[in-house]
Every structure is written in C-alpha cells, then in structure tokens.
C-alpha cells in the first residue's frame, strides 16, 4: 500500500496498536455471529498482552471503552457479543435539501459552546458543505444539562425512570422533553399520582432507568400538555381574570399572548388592551402582572383585585 507524501510513523506505535485492537474487537463482537469468549477474543486479536492477568485487564479496558461509547456488550454463558441491529441506523435516504436543512440546524443551534460535528457527519450531514446551506444570520444556544441524555435514553426505550424531584421520590413514565423559557422540562406520567406532570430537569436529583418498560400513552402530548403561561401552571380553582394593559406595552403583550388557547385579547379604542384569561396559579399570575408595573391593572374579579392589593399593601406599609 503506497501512502501519500505525508508523514507517518515508520513502525506501529502504542496508540495505533490499541486502536487496531479495539476495532478488531468491535468487529468480532458485532459480526462473529455467535458470542465469543474472552479467551477466544484476546488470543486471536493482535495487541493483547501475553500474560493472562494483563490480557484480562486490557480486555476490560477495551470493553469499558466500547460501553462508554454506547455499545451494549451482551454476556451470554460467559461469551460476549454486540447485536448490530441495536447499533446501526437504517439508511435514512436523505435528499440533498434534507441534508442541507439538517446541516443548517446543527451549525446554528448548539447545546454547548463547542458542539462536536462528527456524529452528525455520520448521518450524512457533511462537515464542509462547500458554502451551501441556508445562510441565516443567527445562532441559538439552548441550555444543556447532564441528565438530558439519560432522560432521552429512557424515553426512546420507553422505560420507567426512578427519580427524586424537589426531594420527593417518584417513578415516572418519561414521555417527552420540552425546552421552555430557558429550561428543559421532562413531561412525565407520574405513576404514584396517576397524573401527568412537568418536571424541571435541574430540579431532578438522582435518576435511574428501571428495567420496566411502559406503553406510551396516547393522551400525553409533549407540545401542549405543559402550559407555557405561569398563571396556568397550577391546580388551584380556576379564576377568570380581566386585566387592562396600557398602550405603552400593549404591543408586547399582544405579541406574547395572541393565538394562545384560553386567552381573549380585546384591543381598545385608546390603544390599551383588555386581556381575559383563566388563572389556576395565583403567584404565577401575580408575577406576570407585576412585571408590567404601572402598565397593567386587574379589572376583575373583585376577589382577585383584593388579592393583588393585599400583596402590594404588605410591601407598601413597610
């Protein structure tokens, strides 16, 4: 084999030997057909040490590396194998425009400041598109969290999660992940409470995927089952509220709320905006309201006006 006029080591170095050894081990585990024992594998693959103890240790290191990469190494009667069906994608058959679209998305959006592009090259999204791809003058940074991949893994496998949330242990069915207002939420069916819940991922303590699987419920919709409005994120008795928004910020509130379910917006002749909405969480409503300072006031009902007035009075009198 002739190489190009580029430098290469005159003899195999330790790192190359290890890589070759790991590739051969992976090939054997994936494609041998039948499971193979550690002895069989390490005696036929070049690069394992001669002594049994060192050979076993090196084999464990290699298994750990492969498992760390996500390969499930099955142990069957002291013999090892990897099921290729679990680890390879079918042909995605992406068209050129679909590749370009994915490339644009992956380039512009990241979970971390430096996102590795190589995994996406695997699915056909080339690192260098020669300048093609939609040129968008924007970047998007989504928050990352160390539990995201664990939750996603359980979701994709439809397996139950055991977790602690605000100090309370729960067993849940993870149905989806939703990024909202800068935080990731896990949309779950809480088995103990027999009800849907939305758990903020940074409030989850210990997390463990259980062996038990679940059937995805048709009634849980990740996109809609979690309200985006703070006054709806509660289980209090619903209150139909009416709020007047001053002309100065009416445009912002209109943009923020128009098109949302359960919210009625009535522009007024003087440029103000009348907003009718249903409150199931008072502190969420109050926070939204007072964030508008002098530009918003509760018109009704009287009880709600009194609640807000009492809150303000508790601070005004200090």
């Amino acid at each position: 084999m002739a190489g190009a006029d580029l430098p290469h080591s005159p003899a195999m170095n330790r790192a190359d030997l290890r890589l070759q050894r790991v590739v051969n081990l992976l090939t054997a585990l994936l494609y041998s057909g039948a499971p193979r024992s550690q002895e069989e594998l390490t005696s036929t693959i070049e690069g394992y040490p001669p002594t049994p103890e060192a050979r076993r240790s090196a084999f464990e290191d290699d298994k750990k590396l492969l498992r760390g990469r996500g390969f499930e190494i099955e142990l069957i009667d002291k013999r090892y194998r990897i099921d290729p069906k679990k680890h390879f994608l079918p042909d995605l058959d992406l068209t050129e425009s679909e590749e370009v679209a994915l490339r644009t998305a992956i380039r512009l959006v990241s979970l971390t400041q430096e996102q590795d592009q190589l995994p996406f090259a695997r699915i056909g999204v080339a690192f260098d598109d020669g300048g093609a791809g939609e040129a968008l003058a924007l970047r998007a940074h989504l928050a990352n969290h160390e539990l995201l991949s664990g939750v996603y893994d359980a979701m994709a496998r439809s397996q139950l999660l055991e977790l602690g949330y605000d100090g309370v242990p729960r067993v849940v069915e993870p149905h989806g992940l939703r990024f909202l207002d800068g935080f990731w939420y896990v949309v779950v069916w809480d088995r103990l409470r027999n009800a849907p819940r939305n758990l903020r991922i940074d409030r989850i303590g210990e997390l463990r995927m259980l062996a038990d699987a679940f059937v995805r419920r048709t009634g849980v919709d990740v996109a809609t089952d979690m309200p985006a409005e703070p006054w709806r994120m509660g289980n209090e008795d619903p209150v139909q509220a009416e709020v007047r928004i001053d002309p100065a910020i009416a445009f912002r509130v209109w943009h923020e709320l128009s098109g949302r379910d359960g919210i009625d917006l009535q522009p007024q002749a003087d440029g103000s905006l009348l907003v009718r909405l249903v409150v199931t969480r008072l502190d969420g409503f109050r926070s939204w309201l007072l964030g508008m300072l002098d530009h918003a006031v509760v018109i009704g009902p009287a009880d709600l006006r009194a609640e807000v007035a009492a809150w303000l009075a508790s601070m005004a009198s200090r």
Partner: protein, 311 residues
C-alpha cells in the same frame, strides 16, 4: 515525560464515521474525506494505514476490511457488509440534533419543509417522533432584523427599554441575532448612543430600513444576554428561599447563601424600574441592603401601584 493522552476513543469515533461513507462511495479522495468529516488529512491517512489490517479474527481470507489507499485515492469494497451503515446516534447526539431541528423550525420565516422531512426520517429510524419540543419566543420582527443583517442595512426602530420603562426611537446597525433562554437578542450599534448594545427583539415595536449600515467590528461573545453599561449601579439584596428563580433568571455578580435558605445577592442594575419589578414580584420578604437610597424603593413602588387598586 508523561505519555500523550489516549485518543483511542476519539479515533474510533472517526473510523466508525468514515467507514460507512467509504463503503458507500467506494472511491474517495483523502482531501474530500477530510473536509467532509472535519479531520486533518494527515489523520485520515494515518487511520487508513491501519484499517487494511483490521477485520474479523482469526483474519483468514475475506476477513479483512477491504480498504486501500494509493496516493490520495481511497478504495473501499463492502464485501462483508461490516460497518456499511451509520451508527445510531447516542442519546446525547439525538437530543442535540432534534433540539437543533426543533429550534430552527420555530424561527419565524424559516422555510422548514426539508428540515421537517429530514427530522421525520430520523424519527422513523429511531422511533423518536414527538419526543423533543423546543419553545422559543417568536418575535414578529425577527425576520426583518435578519434581513437587515444580511443586506447590511440600518434600521430605524421604536424600542421599549426595560430599564427606563419607556418607548424610545433610535437608529441601529444590526450585526447579529441569537437566542438564549428562549429569547431572541440582537447585537447592534446604536447610532445615537454611538456604542454597541444588546437588544431584545421582542421589545422592538417597529423597525424600518433606513439606508445602508456602517461597518463595525464583530460584536463580542454572545455568552450572557446582559452586560451592564456605563451608569450601572451595584445593588445588594436579601432574598428569601422562595426567590431562587431570581438567580436562575438573572446573572448575579455575587451570591452568598444565608441561614434559612435566604440569599444575599448583588446585581449591576441599569435602572430602578427593573429593580421595582423584581422586588414587587419577590414580595415582602425581599430587602434592599445597598445602596441606601434604594432601601425604600419596594415600598414606594408598591404604594404607587396600590393607588390604582384603591381608586
């Protein structure tokens, strides 16, 4: 002298990425492979030198990977159907690509037909349809702002300043938009103020092209949606445990945990209105510790708003 770090995992990743591509292409050039996968050409060559000796033990006839290189031309033959498919994305990678796709789909004005179908194919392969949803703010003027950047245009805008709690008219040269914490931000040169500023796109009431923009150096790092300008004041607050959301939502300069879950938090604040909002939302357990002239700000703001309810 220590041993160089073990790059086996990283190099294995590269091998697993390029093999399916080589088997599909059958003939490829080293520079093209290097560019496609973002790897130095010398690394591609070094890896390809190793692969012909790899395969299925005990490495009899037909048990080796059929990859060869002559000059810079790579030839690959998928005789055994090994590694001729891309590896499944790991959970971390899946979240990243689905979140990226969902995010871009929620950008106003972006034509997402091809992206939707690409994501649908990925979902069908991974059986992950509907598992990830990204909700971003969708300010109506985002598209116009992007166009202004693309075409190097100045914009005349009416903007609601949160610090001043007032609408302001100004001219800006937009340079970059980005989203963080689900909000869209615009870095632009404020012509009247003669300085670079960061704006929230959703606080822009109106925007119209106003001629060509001037050239400006690239704005600083996107990281952190707020940087205090000249005139910022250091404010120290004592906040209750129930106000943990404050430090989640806003970047504190300093934070000290106190007894009972309370926190002493310092912010650089550009205007009193922002502080009023925060104090009224936190409630009567919040205290301004410094500066002295703002200690009564919460009571004053509360009284002012209360008068609308007592009228």
């Amino acid at each position: 002298m220590g041993r160089p770090p073990d790059r086996t995992e990283e190099r294995l990743e590269i091998v697993l990425a390029i093999l399916p591509y080589l088997f599909e292409q059958r003939i490829a050039e080293v520079p093209d492979v290097a560019a496609r996968f973002g790897i130095p050409e010398v690394e591609v060559l070094q890896l390809l030198e190793l692969l012909p000796d790899c395969g299925l033990p005990p490495f009899g006839g037909g048990d080796l990977l059929e990859v060869s290189i002559e000059g810079t031309t790579i030839r690959a033959r998928p005789t055994q159907h090994w590694f001729n498919r891309a590896l499944r994305l790991t959970p971390t990678e899946s979240v990243a690509v689905k979140a990226a796709g969902q995010t871009l789909l929620s950008v106003p004005g972006f034509d997402g037909g091809a992206l939707r179908s690409a994501l649908a194919k990925l979902d069908a392969a991974l059986k992950t349809d509907g598992l990830v949803v990204v909700d971003l703010d969708q300010p109506p003027l985002l598209g116009l702002v992007q166009e202004a950047i693309d075409q190097h245009l100045r914009l005349a805008v009416t903007y609601w300043s949160a610090w001043r709690d007032a609408l302001t008219d100004r001219h800006i040269d937009p340079l970059r938009v980005f989203t963080e914490n689900s909000r869209w931000y615009l870095d632009a040169f404020d012509v009247e103020a003669a300085t670079m500023k960061r704006f929230r796109v959703d606080r822009t009431l109106q925007a119209e092209p106003a001629g060509p923009a001037d050239d400006h150096p690239a704005p600083p790092s996107e990281e952190g949606s707020f940087t205090p300008g000249d005139g910022a004041r250091r404010v120290v607050l004592d906040l209750p445990a129930s106000a943990a959301w404050v430090t989640e939502a806003y970047k504190a300069v300093e934070m000290t945990e106190l007894a009972g879950g309370r926190r002493r938090v310092a912010f650089d604040v550009m205007g009193e209105r922002w502080l009023e909002r925060l104090l009224l939302r936190v409630g009567p357990e919040a205290r301004v510790l410094e500066p002295a002239d703002l200690v009564d700000l919460q009571a004053q703001a509360a009284q002012r708003l209360l008068e609308r309810y007592e009228a």
